[in-house]
């Protein structure tokens, strides 16, 4: 087992290094803006002296790499800095927003993953049937539509015309769990529809690829029942590609969530970042960008690790 642990450790290290470099990129990008936080905060009212003083107070008068290390150090302590817009501590807001976004994404994933896997496997098993061809057309249409289109259609029909669900997903700290589910159902469905289509197509392709292997045909030639061929022969080898598909689509979900949050006015990290970009509130932009990137890197790392763990050649080396 030790060789596997070594490979896993290597991957994890690689993930950390990537994250580290990403943080450098984000920091450098933001530092390219003319002017800095001190000027932004004081705005028109600032004189050269007050700006210099504030700069010193905020620790902005030191060279770039020291500023970077300070920033990084602060983050490890949970201090993301202060928002330029309203002066509040970013760490507090981000925590809440991030957990809201995770809630929404998880909700969508719980619906999307099982549906996509089952429908995708069926489409592969009944390849070129009417079912499969319909699925093909529907999924292409689905991945081609922008999230806001799907969102507004759902809102118009389900929320406005039918009145079944609220069109604004504003949840607060004191909303009950069921209440949360009710309000986030529509945004979750929106996310699901687009994400599921991607997942379905990729699952179908992976299973078709799997079924074309010689050992599947061999199992049939050995007189195994079709059910056994699928469950005993195909499935153990399907984990690797399926896991890969699922995790990569989860990474996609992380991005799709941004538009959905804006449409439904959902208090998540995506909406926070969009607002911050519009207002040029750079500390918030920096922080939320970092968190999104970290989530993405983490999900890719998980995909990598799971595909190693589900590969029989790596599990049992020569």
């Amino acid at each position: 087992m030790t060789h596997i642990l070594i490979i896993l450790a290597q991957r994890a290290l690689l993930g950390l290094i990537t994250l580290f470099i990403v943080s450098v990129i984000i920091f450098l990008a933001v530092s390219m803006l003319p002017g800095d936080a001190a000027e932004a905060i004081l705005g028109q009212a600032g004189t050269p002296e007050t700006i210099a003083a504030l700069r010193k107070q905020l620790g902005l008068d030191v060279p770039a790499h020291i500023r970077y290390l300070n920033w990084l150090g602060n983050i490890f302590q949970g201090n993301f800095g202060v928002s330029i817009g309203n002066g509040r501590d970013i760490g507090e807001i981000i925590g809440v927003r991030f957990s809201n976004t995770i809630f929404l994404a998880t909700f969508a994933a719980c619906i999307a993953i099982p549906s996509a896997l089952i429908l995708g496997v069926l489409a592969a098993l009944y390849r070129n049937s009417y079912y499969d061809r319909t699925i093909n057309v529907v999924t292409i249409s689905s991945i081609s539509t922008p999230e806001f289109f799907v969102a507004y259609i759902l809102i118009v029909f389900i929320s406005v015309k039918m009145g079944w669900l609220p069109s604004l997903a504003n949840i607060r700290a004191d909303t009950t769990f069921l209440g949360k589910l009710e309000r986030t159902l529509l945004p979750a469905i929106t996310l699901t529809l687009v994400c599921m289509a991607h997942m379905l197509r990729m699952t179908r392709a992976a299973i078709i690829n799997l079924l074309s292997n010689s050992y599947i045909e061999m199992a049939t030639l050995k007189g195994m029942k079709k059910v056994r061929v699928i469950i005993h022969h195909a499935l153990p080898n399907a984990w690797a590609p399926i896991v890969n598909v699922v995790v990569l689509n989860l990474a996609y979900l992380v991005v799709g969530v941004v538009v959905v949050e804006v449409v439904f006015v959902y208090p998540g990290l995506g909406q926070l970042m969009v607002d911050a970009v519009q207002r040029r509130d750079m500390p918030v932009v920096q922080a939320s960008c970092l968190i999104f990137a970290a989530t993405y890197v983490f999900l890719n790392l998980v995909a990598d690790i799971l595909s190693i763990l589900t590969n029989p050649r790596l599990l049992h080396p020569k």
């Binding site: 984000i26 922008p146 806001f148 804006v262 969009v274 750079m282 993405y296």
Partner: protein, 290 residues
Amino acid sequence: MISKSEPSIVTSKTKYFFTELMGAPLSAKIGILIVVIYIFVALFAPLLAPFGESELVGKKYQPWNNTFLLGTDNLGRDMLSRILFGARNTVGIAFLTTLVAFLIGGICGIFAAVVGRWIDQVLCRIVDILMAIPLLIFAMLLLSIFGTSIPSLILIIGILDATRVFRISRAVSLNIVVMDFIEAAKLQGESLFRITIREILPNIFSPLAAEFGLRFCYVFLTISALSFLGLGIQPPTADWGSMVRATADLITFGDYTPLIPAAAIAALTVGVNFIVDWFLHIHSRLQDEL
């Protein structure tokens, strides 16, 4: 002379293409029709539109009537005209961006595959790092820094998307680079440049063409999403994404107007996807047979 028992398959390329075209599934034909319509509208928008792109012609939020077939938007501009002009803006900008992505990513990808060694490793690492941040997020970050002018939009999205193009063009080029005829060309004394252009490029054209379609769709949707979020193409330029945003309030009254520009986006993407799907289907079938 060669005995008659040796088979020779005679195919004419143009004839083959038309046979395939006639035998294309309905979805592909619809896709082609859609694309043709869009190109037509984009080219002839000034002639087709009843009013100017940003002309204030009436009261705000007018419902659909005889003068303004699709009503007016939040500032009193004619929706129909803006949608027609939006074709050239949204589609045009997305197309240019995809071109930029392909030029940068494609050339780098082929270069990495042909030259190999440490240059390949370095480029791959750079691309890996750039792809570690999700594109939309990275784009939002860079747009907030460099501004949302059209050239900046095209460059930022173009460079970010070039990473995806890099990977695929490198992959298909590597498949060709290991073939014996490349080695034969080297031994003939051909320059690397000539080998790239005359030996490799013709063989990777098909998969790259399909990828162009797919990247266009992705870029198109991303730019629309950014415009919808207010971070992309700025008003008063007519752009479908921002038009959805501008009329979004009407949704709460059950008005379908905001759905129209959104549907315009969806229709083109669906059409291109159908075409690419059909194209990949033929191409993979050809690969199996040869």
